[in-house]
Homo-oligomer: 812 residues x 2
């Protein structure tokens, strides 16, 4: 049983994908409605495909460049395999394919939901949520399939499918990082490009259509209306999918890296513990695999019976599915952790030394992750939910004008960082206290295990939104729109909480990657009491702020191009306002597509360029690689801390403005008077929403990608800055050998001094446990004095244990 555990996650992933195909063909078999509906739906589908195709062209170019760069790195860095290029390309392809599946099903499900809504609400929910399920399982299934598939391949190639030592496993995982980098790169395009697309189309459609021409939203006479509906899919479906695909892969990868580190701390060999000695590395994949099946079960529970159901019942159905999934993940974590991990592990806590950690403590860490995933949604819901105090306050402040509305919205977003950050900080602390950074990474893994379910809940929103748009454009009976509106309204809430989940996952993923980075570089930690590291912490903190500004400006520019085009069509196409002339939808789609991809270049360059500059410019000037590694670590920490703050701030401020505006639709009480749409207060609230739109749909969600991609680039660069560079540029080499013979352990030290500035010692410790010899290699690097001191520490430890040390050290 244990031996085949390595294939378990892949089997579960395939099972999930199989279910996805079944569900997909079920959705596709549903009635797609009459001519007009189908026509509109086809427009949206084609627009979405047009964006995907344009994106893929650009992507192919990008993937080519990065592949060449990676190949160059592989050429110069001995321990980096060329296979990282393959992994990278497949990571990109898998992510793109997952996005493709999601986008296709979403644009096919929308019209079927409209059609179903003509008969009943339960049917409409069944179909829209079915579409979401396909999307969710596609993303999660492909993520697990790709990651575990490549792991098995590399494990065979580099280690012949059996445990050798932690060094070899490190190379396996370093190569696997290419897959994650590929996935996250696509997420950059999908999330940032998609975010710009959706808002440019939205603003363009509203500004000329609603404001200038005075026609309602989703009116088929508006040339930008198709682009607007495509945008919902591009931004909310494909963007979110790519984001979570990236998080999923990166989290599991980081947990695997840290699992390998646990094995290192335990002496470099735990074959006797079963699972081929790679239990801690396999565990995150197993949790991910289990999560897929659990999500399938969860999605099956989402159903309503009454045709007269309201938002609360629909929300309730989703909650049952969601909470069941979370509870089942907790259960399966308990089973997998106790089964796959050694009962007691040794983990090295920086500054606190080696500690014994029971597997139960790892389980507690996973509970921390599940807790955070659940609570962050409530926090988001509180700050952005209709009828809650913060929203009522913004509504109140709208009565004195747009200025006070804006201040109130900004303040709400800012204050919402308080509980969110305390929650994250508490989670970091707790999961670390339970099981070190392995605990942090597993907390993230457990949280991400329900990704398929989360995505299903998340994707059904924009599908319902689209369904409503199609109902409007094809002039259906009002009851149809009413039914889709119920779904849409619930979708708005789940969109907000989904964003909370995405931030939480990005934050924990980044931390796990950050920890994995430190272990890859072999540095002792990141000391911000070194000025260059502190300087980079500042620079890192600045990048999310500038990135957000660029993204916001990009929306403005792209929207302006759209406005010009819509104005031109209204002017030049005869009979367009009377419904006799046909608007050129495809031109608007093309503008959104081109503008969004063009405008995402600069923020993308910022994201990718900075870490590369920080790593390579000092390297060219001959700076010591370990010092650079620390600087880059400082930069990564700066980006993560600032990025999480700005993500929460922007998402919640944007969400709050949006719902403050929506509050006016049902009417709100201001200073004792009922106030409705069209009032001055409502106009002020609309202004707030205009500011909030790019916040919550473009710059805010982009922060997730920024922080994850930054940490991933760091992780891929890590081996270049790590111990591996020691092979090059040695000034002088001198070998010092220490043979220590205490109890059942033999210690050999190769002490290589390359200069007074840089030395390293390769320490081989052979242990005889249960009549088996296991050897662990430990590399210590630093200045000569530092390495000297470390070796002395090693000796001092052995004397603590009352063992005899024979110091045969000779200097040559």
């Amino acid at each position: 049983m244990e031996a085949i555990m390595i294939y378990m996650p892949i089997a579960l992933a395939l099972l999930g994908l199989l279910y996805m195909i079944v569900k997909q063909s079920w959705v596709m078999k549903q009635d797609a409605g009459d001519g007009k509906m189908k026509e509109i739906s086809d427009h949206i589908y084609e627009g979405a495909l047009a964006f995907l195709n344009a994106e893929y062209k650009l992507l192919a170019f990008f993937v080519l460049i990065v592949s060449v760069l990676l190949a160059i790195v592989a050429h110069f860095v001995e321990t980096t395999s060329y296979l990282i290029v393959i992994a990278f390309i497949f990571g990109a392809i898998f992510s793109a394919f997952a996005g493709n599946i999601g986008m296709k099903i979403a644009t096919k499900t929308n019209v079927r939901t409209t059609q179903a809504a003509r008969t009943s609400l339960p049917n409409a929910l069944k179909i829209s949520f079915g579409g979401g399920t396909v999307m969710g399982l596609g993303v999660a299934g492909l993520a697990v399939l790709g990651l575990t598939g490549f792991f098995i391949i590399f494990f065979q190639l580099f280690m012949d499918g059996a445990w050798t030592n932690t060094m070899d496993m490190t190379i396996v995982l370093e190569t696997l990082a290419g897959f994650s980098l590929g996935a996250e790169s696509i997420a950059l395009f999908a999330r940032v490009g998609g975010g710009i697309y959706t808002k440019a189309a939205d603003v363009g459609a509203d500004l000329v259509g609603k404001v200038e021409a005075g026609i309602p939203e989703d009116d088929p006479r508006n040339p930008a209306t198709i682009a607007d509906n495509v945008g919902d899919n591009v931004g909310d479906v494909a963007g979110m999918g790519a984001d979570l695909f990236g998080s999923y892969v990166a989290t599991v990868l980081a947990a695997m890296v840290l699992g390998n580190y646990v094995i290192k701390d335990m002496g470099g060999n735990i074959v006797s513990e079963g699972f081929g000695g790679i239990g801690p590395v396999l565990l995150p994949m197993a949790i991910a695999g289990a999560g897929i099946i659990i999500s399938v079960i969860g999605t099956m529970l989402v159903k309503i019976k009454s045709n007269n159901a309201k938002e609360a019942q629909v929300m309730g159905a989703l909650n049952i599915g969601n909470w069941t999934s979370i509870a089942l993940v907790a259960l399966s974590c308990f089973g997998l952790v106790t089964w796959m991990l050694p009962e007691t592990m040794q983990m090295n806590f920086f500054g606190e030394g080696m500690q014994n950690i029971s597997s139960m403590r790892v389980f507690y860490a996973t509970l921390v992750g599940l807790f955070v995933g659940a609570v962050i949604s409530s926090v988001t819901e509180y700050y952005t939910g209709l009828g809650k105090k913060p929203i009522l306050n913004i509504v109140q402040q709208s009565s004195t004008g747009a200025g006070t509305n804006i201040i109130a919205g900004l303040a709400t977003g800012m204050i919402s960082t308080f509980p969110s950050v305390l929650l994250f900080a508490g989670a970091i602390w707790a999961s670390y206290a339970f099981a070190g950074f392995y605990g942090v990474a597993l907390a993230a893994s457990a949280m991400m295990a329900t990704t398929a379910m989360q995505l299903a809940i998340d994707a059904f929103g924009p599908i319902s939104d689209n369904a409503g748009g199609i109902a409007e454009m094809s002039e259906q009976d009002p009851i149809v729109r009413e039914r889709t509106d119920i779904l849409d309204s619930v979708g708005n809430t789940t969109a907000a909480t989904g964003k909370g989940f995405a931030i939480a996952s990005a934050a924990l993923t980044s931390l796990a990657l950050f920890a994995a980075y430190v272990t890859f570089t072999g540095i002792d930690g990141i000391n911000i009491f070194k000025a260059p590291v502190l300087a980079m912490l500042f620079v890192g903190g600045m990048v999310p702020v500038v990135f957000s500004a660029l993204a916001m400006n990009a929306v403005g520019k792209a929207a302006m191009e759209m406005v010009e085009e819509v104005r031109r069509q209204f002017r030049e196409i005869p009979g367009i306002m009377e419904g006799t002339g046909k608007p050129e939808y495809d031109k608007c789609v093309a503008i959104s597509t081109q503008a969004s991809l063009k405008e995402m270049m600069l923020p993308g360059l910022l994201t990718i360029g900075f870490p590369i500059l920080i790593a390579f410019v000092p390297l060219l000037f001959g700076m010591e690689p370990r010092a650079i590694a620390e600087m880059l670590g400082g930069y990564m920490a700066g980006v993560t801390v600032s990025g999480v703050l700005w993500a929460i701030f922007q998402n919640n401020a944007g969400g709050a403005w949006d719902n403050a505006k929506k509050s006016f639709e049902a009417g709100v009480m201001i200073n004792g008077e009922m106030t409705y749409k069209g009032s001055d207060a409502h106009k002020a609230a609309v202004t707030g929403d205009t500011v909030g739109d790019p916040f919550k749909d473009t710059s805010g969600p982009s922060m997730n990608i920024l922080i994850k991609l930054t940490c991933l680039i760091g992780l891929v660069i890590a081996p270049i800055l790590g111990g591996h560079t020691a092979e090059t540029g040695a000034v002088a080499t001198e070998n010092v050998e220490i043979t220590a013979d205490f109890a059942a352990k033999k210690v050999y030290v190769d002490f290589i001094i390359e200069s007074n500035e840089y030395a390293k010692a390769i320490i081989s410790v052979s242990s005889i446990i249960d009549d088996r010899v296991s050897t662990e290699e430990l590399v210590i690097s630093g200045t000569k004095a530092e390495v000297d001191a470390k070796i002395a520490e090693l000796k001092s430890k052995s004397s603590q244990f009352k063992m005899d040390v024979t110091d045969n050290r000779t200097e040559k």
Copy 2:
């Protein structure tokens, strides 16, 4: 000559204060104008005094509480002297007194400026700038007087006025930190309270007066108009003064702490180098003293001759004074550094070991500081200046409504962090590369040396603004207002650049304090690869965001109270609109005063409470003090990085909105059409300015106080978390003695093991240099293994130097 250098700064400070008194009496002798003008001016003066008195009452209470807390600390921590309480009280009193001087002279100078403007512009400048000069010299003179005075006293008390060792000097400086804490606490009240006051009064006056009642700004019929004018003094004069007073003291203190650390690195005794062996400690004070005299010279150069001068000439006159000061500071730094510092120093760079640093490199570090001070003003000027690209862009975006205006303003503020942060990061790196953290602290000291000049330039703005208000209220000839408007317009520019200077000073001061903190606690650095430290970095990053939101909300609440009161007076006082009924100005002043002091409690509590909680809660739970010290350090770094970012973002966004709005006064070209006040675009720009007001005058500038006070509280707590706690709670004590006898050095080691988790070694190294015996004490603390390793490193170093080591280590 060298012996009396310790009294030099105090003498220069007294000289500066003497000049201030001369200038003050000259200003007071000027004609204060006729009855109406004098009446209005008296109202403003009394309103300002009312605020000060209310503030002082609250302060006395606050100072009492903190004094008791400090006394408790002094009682329990053996090495903390009760004198820290005295230093704290005097720090508070000196800062309050400096604020009092500034506020009094500002409110007396305004009316004299109006009167002088009736005759000529050069006279008006002479008087308004004269008032600014009094303010600047009062702040700088009292700062240097208090700090150096207390240093001399503590130096006598703890060291008998002669060098003993670095440990004693550390106690001197730890006690002196009380003075700085007192000063910065007042700054919290003055800057945050003042910031809330000025905007509450401004918004209240505008909302009811201009918008509802339709009367012009500064109209005497508006009951809030006096409060509004008081606000200019409270916020821009007293607030800025207290801010820079705090920065000045903190910077010099931090540089002294790091100077002592240099002496430690050099073997603990440099008496042979002259200046009683405290050259590196004296130097920052000497630079500050020289800066006062240089500022006096600089202010003398500010004058114009032509009565027809425009903004450019006035700005030119200020620039001549400013640049001359900066050049003279550079010259004096060169002189003082080469004179007072040893030609070559040894400094310990973390992770890089001991390096020889020439005194010239310290001079280069001071140049870095002067460069940053000059360039940051240009950066601020670019992003907020009239006619510059960012402002023109915001103006352009105003044409499509308030929403796009807001987005453009936010984006401008966000993007402005890019050059600013790169500048700071470069400065940190460069000054550290030149001379370690001592270099960073001296860069800050050099920049701050021109504080008196900066404040003079800064304070003349609000004085001129007030003068214009008095001209309006007392219905003077239009030429008077035209002249004061020229001064006011220049004042707006200097206010923006002054804010840049204040941020830069706060940022560098915090870094210097941060470095001093690490040396006080005796930790090795702050490793963010420990989860609790990383968690605190997150929490620290969040605090400035929440603080800003609280400050913004506070303005809203206080403004609402003001609105109610003004509405009540308009309603209830008969004949008020006809000018026959007299408005109750004092009631509005009282509301602003009470509301601002009440509303600043929560952000103040956040600032003070968090570091105390982080330090003491884990201490109560028995956490290891060094681990807490690192966590607190992570928190400080988080607050500093995030605080600097939010300060730049908010100040520049606010300044940009303000000037975008002002652009409409002269008319702007939008889409080929000249657009003026009253247009829709202008209304959108006014909305932007409403949002920007609390940004630039309340929450933005408060960030400076937040980051400095956080680092200062850390510094005061440091000794509690540092090596000193070793005296208490020892589990077991075991002495290991090493006697090493190599060359002319003798090394004795007292090895105290308190537990396996905590040990420390006190290493005394006696050197015989030039027939003099000097002894340095070095404390190493950490886990037993870590201390062991450090001692081994010491031995390994001695073997590197080819000396014989006799290891007589015996374990008891």
